[in-house]
Amino acid sequence: MLDTATPAAGGVTAPRAAGTSFGELRLDGVTREFGGIVALAGLTMTVGRGEFITLLGPSGCGKSTALNCIAGLLSLTAGSIWLDDRRIDVLRPEQRGFGMVFQNYALFPHMSVRRNVGFGLAMRRTPREEIRRRVDQVLDLVQLAAHAEKLPGQLSGGQQQRVAIARAIVVQPPLVLMDEPLSNLDAKLRLEMRTELKRIHRELGRSTIYVTHDQDEALSLADRVVMLQEGHVQQIAAPEEIYARPANLDVARFMGYRNLLALDVVRREGGWAVVGGPGIALRGLCQGEVGRRAAVAIRPDDLTLDGGGEDGIAGRVETVEYCGRDYLVDLVTEGGVTLHARSLQRVAPGDVLRCHADPERVLVYPEAPGDAGA
């Protein structure tokens, strides 16, 4: 019933076969260059049925490029995209039948909410009564039934956002693509919409690829996170893993490991390493083959001023910020490196203290950090 009106191109079957019953989407070495500059370098990944994938990375990392390549809005410089055993990167966007939510929503300003949402169905020549029924259904799902006859300009940002989502999912696409859909909303609404997206995904079970630069969003929504940097995949992993075990120092930095230290390796004990420096003695988990020098990454949340023990890092308190639950403390080590730590007790600037970290949460990387402690 779906996508039946979409014409086939040059011997390739129309997305009819795709329907809702595809097994997996496969990207094979997807590469895109803009005037000789590589925006996306050989992205290879698979998206399983019903899976929620986020493409995460700083701006300019190629995540939107990847999404536009999948949607068909950008052609590939190299590589291929497959829906099960059908090659789809040769299809035009209107032949792929994917639903897409744009960053600025891209609602048709001259059409009512109802006509916006029904647009995809109308293009598929769905009978009018059925369009009406399905649009009503999806407007109920996004809680906009009361606004069906309004123009997009009469809606708030959050409502426009939900119209955009409704418009993308009403055609029951095999894959939903979202390009930073929450970035234009204020912080409170963003949290609400995040929960909303999660609910819609749970209710419909559509495979989704979601682009964001916000790590909280990526971690809370995704089944798997694809971490991109400068066009290259850094890591593909479950949110828990990408949070606790970043594949390399760049990912660690992006994931909030703000304390990065270049230290000497004192000794290694299996998967563990004891590292040290001026006033510093730490035990941590090796991430790869560690030599004599190592880069150590610790989150501020895992570096506490509470508890005792001989190891840890000694430093002089520089600034103290009260955060409600605890204090965020900046302290400077003997070696002149600034560290960010947490403390449940109030401390005063000038105090010389020792901070500690659970060895499980201290990640020891082989390479040297470019800007340790910066």
Partner: protein, 295 residues
Amino acid sequence: MRAVAKGGALGMGTAGIDRTVLLVVPGALFVILLFVYPFLYGLFLSFAPKQGDLLANYTKFFSTPYLSETIATTLWIALPATLINVGVALPIAFRLRRSTSMQRILTGLLVVPITLGTVLVAEGLLTYLGPQGWFSRILMAAGIVETPVHLTHNYWGVLLSLVITGFPFAFLLILSYITGIDPVLAQAAATLGASPAQRFRHVFLPLLAPGLAIAFCLAFVQAFSVFPSAVLLGAPAGPTRVISIAAYQAAFEDYDYSMASAIAMIMGAVQLAIVVVVLAMRGVSYRGPAGGAKG
């Protein structure tokens, strides 16, 4: 209005009178002196005929076929010219909506006929399109026609000249409207399954309709007041005796300024009627911002 609100907010006014309103005065004076006064003068003059009653000029115009037919003659030239200009400019501007070197080259080329002015274009066309001109000779050399084609001193000469001078104007205007439409809207339509033709029909055209109406009105008013090319390239005694020629003859051959004013008023009324009809149709369509979001 805006100046009032702004000045008020700045607290520059004294006792309810906002001095920023005074900024309007030079502009208002300019309009009154150069438009409103001549218009009203002409209007009153048209009701003070050389002989006869108040409406003598108007009754004379509409009871003399030689005069009243100029309305139809002018419309017969101006409407096709406007339709051609807008109709041809639309697809070309649409194809060139993305900023490319082709777009820049073409817009640059099209500005030239505007800057040259109608008289120069008409003089050029006179020799180029004349029976002994290149155009005719090329056609004969190619064996397409056997006798010289007559494209000057008739209807076609005027129409061609109006297209050549009016097209760039319509094109540039429509291009600016098209580039104002967020291209992401077309991308969104594509991902929803709309073919290029459907994207044009359902997304671009409705958003473009108000702009097209404006472009049509401006192009039409320009074409309706055709004078130089109707005289130089047309047959001003017959087929291209447009209404402005009738007004010119009344004023400078019969020295009947009153009659000339009446003809000018009729000319204005016809233009206004067409513009009102087109803008009324525009009122039916959507007229908000052509972007995707609230900014």
